[in-house]
């Protein structure tokens, strides 16, 4: 516990150091990175200790702020979320040094380390806070620090708009959270989490709705996800990795914490979470398939994975509310493990995408291609991430999805017709999401890294240096380790699951139907798969030894002069899917078809705007702007009158206060 607080202080101190050194980007980077890495090392130890069976800790200090004490605590749930935060933050920071090299001139690079460290420190604080006010303060710091990081290249107009969308979205979410904490605080008489409990059902339901909107905005539930595909691509890639990999998980953390505080969950909450999971999961990946921008595609995949996590939470809540402890364990366990898994592979993929952008200067998938030959390390790491995020065995994505699947299958076996419906929905949804995700990453990896380069930059690209390569490789290995060591990874989730299901840790996953044994069977199959790949590869090597192995042109049905431009593009690969989802995506086609025998230029391009952004939020905000423009006369630039406003407000407040005495 103390170590974590020290880590937070260290992050803030080194952040300040980076700010002071902003004129010397190299020094600022050294300060920023060493602070993050040292803080991660300090912080990981207590988290691991708690997950391996250590007891939870709580620290309460008095502070001169109303609503309770300065309470910070570390329990298993916090630890599950803290580990990816610290791990990914440290690796992304190491990666960031080289990534920011091209921006050496100017103070922006130096200053960005200040925001980076503040972001990491505030995320740690959000996960430790046990008091509503402290939580909200840390939450706000996190939002602001990430806003400034998104605005890193603010001279670009697209970036500025993305930043504003993010700022508005996150504050609307925070407004809901403020309302939620006020509601809870009024019932409990204190904002300390420890005192909240035994709420009347109406209050609990209202708080749950506010939590869904407030935390859902940060996590990226459809339709509150609109800021995500704007802000994540706009930020520098190591920051995107941090935002998409771990920051959005603080929304999930908030939701999980609320589920713990609000008392026994109701069945309807489970239905709501599964509904949210299905819409976010399916629409997220459908939008991802229609994207041409690599980082935007990855951002939409975060929406999809948040959907999978919500499905897991929904299964858990339903299991808990209908009295099936094993199903609840599987749902919550799957959701929590997916939080960790998604943090690993999503940050890996963003770092990989960053290396591509770094080497080629473009994010447009259709302008890339053939990078596997010139960037073998990046390609290998990205490939691992792609297999993992598609939920394919033997990597980590499959393990967490397996838990959610298994919980849903179990409840389909046991429950009545009506109660089984959401679980069937979860199974069908997961199957559909899995199919779509593997198609989407076949597209992302296949078009970017395989085939022939489509541009000159692609031909001359090369792998980044070791400080950028190593973080990717470590993340890739972590994905493999959680997959091939699934029983251990799931065992580590037990203390956190125990907190959510209010059972002793010892019986989690070991009650009726021993899940840990079953995962043993699963890993046997994984190892069999790895072994067979080795044996078959060796077999082919033996067969081909001493025989003629030639290099030639791609056969392509005998067409002898292929050009890179004739390759299948990402848009053509995704065409079937985009057509199938046209009711949701509303992709616009701009084209001029070839005409006549000797046709001149012809072109076709497709554009998929976010339907919720354009169709739902833009009209609302246009109206709001029109309404507020009627008030613009108040803002006239005369300082004396502004002071008068303040004085008048104070007088009015005084009168109001006096009349209530």
């Amino acid at each position: 516990m103390t170590l974590l607080v020290v880590a937070c202080g260290l992050l803030l101190l080194t952040g300040l150091g980076a700010l002071l050194l902003q004129r010397r980007p190299r020094g600022a980077a050294v300060f920023g990175v060493s602070g993050t890495v040292a803080a991660a090392m300090l912080g990981l130890y207590p988290c691991l200790r708690v997950l391996l069976g250590g007891s939870a800790e709580l620290m309460c200090l008095p502070w001169p702020v109303p609503g309770g004490a300065f309470a910070v605590g570390l329990d298993a749930v916090s630890a599950v979320f803290l580990i990816p935060v610290l791990f990914v933050a440290a690796l992304s920071a190491i990666y960031g040094v080289e990534y920011l090299q091209p921006f050496r001139e100017g103070p922006a690079a130096g200053r960005s380390w200040f925001y980076y460290n503040v972001l990491v420190a505030s995320m740690v604080m959000v996960l430790l806070a046990r008091n509503g006010l402290l939580f909200l303060m840390a939450w706000e710091c996190m939002s602001l620090a990430s806003f400034f990081l998104v605005m890193y290249e603010s001279e670009k107009p697209g970036v500025r708009e993305a930043g504003w969308v993010y700022l508005v979205a996150t504050h609307l979410g925070t407004a809901c959270l403020v309302a939620m904490f006020v509601l809870l605080g009024r019932e409990a008489g204190s904002l300390d989490f420890g005192r909240i409990g035994a709420l009347p059902p109406a209050v609990a339901a209202a708080a749950f709705c506010l939590a869904i909107i407030g935390f859902g905005t940060k996590a990226g539930f459809v339709p509150l996800h609109v800021w995500l595909p704007e802000a994540h691509p706009a930020a520098p890639s190591h920051v995107s990795a941090l935002l998409s990999g771990v920051m959005i998980k603080t929304g999930i953390y908030g939701l999980v914490r609320m589920l713990m505080l609000l008392g026994p969950p109701r069945t309807e909450w489970g239905w709501v979470l599964i509904g949210i999971g299905l819409t976010s999961g399916i629409l997220g990946v459908a939008y991802a398939l229609a994207q041409h921008d690599l980082k935007r595609l990855l951002a939409y995949h975060s929406v999809e994975n948040i959907g999978i996590i919500a499905l897991g939470l929904g299964v858990g809540v339903l299991g808990l509310s209908t009295g099936h402890p094993l199903i609840a364990q599987l749902g919550f366990g799957g959701a929590l493990l997916h939080v960790v898994n998604h943090a690993l592979f999503k940050s890996l993929l963003f770092l990989g995408a960053g290396a591509v952008v770094h080497a080629t200067g473009t994010r447009d998938i259709d302008h890339l291609g053939g990078l596997a030959k010139v960037m073998p390390w990046t390609a290998a790491a990205f490939f691992v991430g792609a297999v993992a995020i598609s939920g394919l065995p033997p990597l980590n994505g499959f393990v967490s999805e397996f838990l959610v699947y298994y919980g849903s299958f179990l409840s389909c076996l046991e429950s009545g017709a009506r109660a089984a419906l959401p679980f069937i929905g979860a199974i069908v949804g997961l199957a559909l999401i899995g199919g779509l995700a593997s198609a989407c990453f076949a597209k992302a990896f296949g078009i970017v890294f395989l085939g022939e380069p489509r541009t000159e930059q692609g031909r001359s690209a090369h792998d980044p240096g070791w400080t950028m390569r190593l973080p990717m490789l470590i993340l890739a290995m972590a994905c493999g380790a959680i997959g091939l060591g699934a029983p251990w990874a799931v065992r580590a989730m037990r203390p956190a699951v125990a907190l959510l299901t209010h059972e002793p840790t010892a019986i989690i996953f070991t009650g009726t139907g021993n899940v840990l044994d079953l995962l043993g069977g699963l890993t046997e199959c994984f190892w069999a798969l790895v072994g067979l790949v080795g044996i078959l590869g060796l077999g082919r090597w033996v067969l081909l030894r001493g025989r003629v192995v030639r290099q030639g042109l791609t056969w392509d049905c005998g067409y002898a002069v292929p050009s890179p431009r004739m390759q299948y593009t990402a848009s053509s690969f995704a065409q079937w899917f985009v057509d199938w989802f046209r009711w949701a995506l509303r992709t616009e086609h701009h084209r001029s078809l070839p005409q006549g025998v000797f046709s001149g230029t012809a072109f076709m391009n497709t554009e998929t705007e976010d339907g919720f952004h354009e169709g739902l939020f833009r009209p609302v905000f246009e109206r709001a702007r029109w309404a507020f423009s009627k008030l613009r006369w108040i803002q006239h630039g005369q300082l004396q009158l502004y002071v008068l406003y303040i004085a008048l407000t104070l007088v009015l407040l005084l009168i109001w206060y006096a009349s209530h005495l």
């Binding site: 490939f383 397996f402 069908v428 198609a439 798969l529 067969l543 025989r547 030639r550 690969f573």
Partner: protein
């Protein structure tokens, strides 16, 4: 892992390439031709294993990994597949999910290897394969949920062994619907008519064959063998579902199961002989039809 299951698995490894032979002989019979020998695929595999290899200069390690990982994935899926009513070498609760995802891994690797060639032709096949399997997956899983609910087991071996005459009397209509849905998926996933035509090598409408155009030698042998095994494992689920009795004795079970697989291959041959391939745009409707059948079965089971 018991000895019987291992022996049975070895038997499957030896027998799987027979299925395409039986299908082709059936088709030849309908066409009034002599047809290739039943053992043709064995000859092909033997010949391909003797050859060297030609790799496109465009390709990378992904292209070389494709056939190997694909074959390894379907082999592990085979370890999970029961032999009629007799249990598979590996069985645990939830292995049905792993089974579905192993076939997904095989498909993913084939698609990746196809994209690695840089040929627009193979890209086209890859896109179609990814799309059609995305539609087939939910239907397959709904069928599994329904069978799991009827039999009260979550491992492939357990649930298929539990399908008995009593089960058929109780929920016969639902099982018929599931079998129909799985049959459609089996035809689609194994690139048979009416979804794909394994005979047309150079037509723009096909899916699987076009993705493997650039493979040769031992790699192509791995792909052909993997395809035969995939047909076997998916067929084995269908046949085990349709066998309504648990023979108890080992040789009776083996005889019934192998007889069932033979009939299935003949059935596929008949379907291929009397039907034309569907227009490509109609294939999604066929797969949605399979999903509707599976969903209907689920409703019957839920009541």
């Amino acid at each position: 892992m018991n000895v019987v299951a291992c022996v049975q698995t070895v038997l499957v490894l030896l027998l799987a390439p027979l299925l395409p032979g039986v299908i082709n002989r059936t088709k030849a019979f309908f066409a009034g031709r002599q047809g290739p020998p039943v053992l043709q695929l064995y000859f092909d595999l033997w010949k391909l294993a003797q050859k060297g290899a030609v790799y496109s200069r465009t390709t990378t390690w992904v292209f070389r990994a494709g056939p190997i990982v694909g074959l390894a994935a379907v082999l592990v899926a085979l370890f999970l597949t029961p032999f009629g009513k007799s249990a598979a070498p590996l069985a645990f609760g939830g292995d049905l999910i792993l089974f579905a995802y192993l076939l997904g891994l095989m498909r993913f690797m084939t698609v990746m290897a196809a994209l690695d060639t840089g040929s627009s032709f193979e890209g086209m096949g890859a896109s179609r394969e990814a799309f059609f399997s995305m539609l087939a997956e939910p239907a397959f899983l709904i069928g599994l949920v329904a069978v799991a609910r009827v039999t009260g087991s979550l491992s492939l071996s357990g649930m298929l062994a539990n399908v008995s005459a009593e089960t058929w009397l109780r929920v016969g209509p639902a099982l018929v619907l599931i079998a129909a849905a799985w049959m459609v998926i089996l035809l689609a996933e194994n690139s048979r008519i009416p979804v794909d035509d394994p005979n047309t090598h150079l037509e723009l409408t096909m899916i699987h064959e076009v993705m493997v155009l650039d493979h040769g030698g031992p790699d192509f042998a791995a792909i052909l063998y993997g395809a035969a095994l995939k047909l076997w494992v998916m067929g084995a689920l269908l046949v085990s579902l349709l066998i309504p009795v648990h023979p108890g004795v080992l040789w009776k079970n083996g005889l019934m199961f192998l007889g069932g697989m033979f009939l299935l291959a003949v059935g596929i041959g008949v379907v291929e002989s009397i039907m034309a391939r569907l227009r490509l745009a109609r294939v999604p409707q066929l797969l949605m039809g399979a999903m509707a059948l599976a969903a209907l079965a689920m409703m019957l089971v839920l009541k």
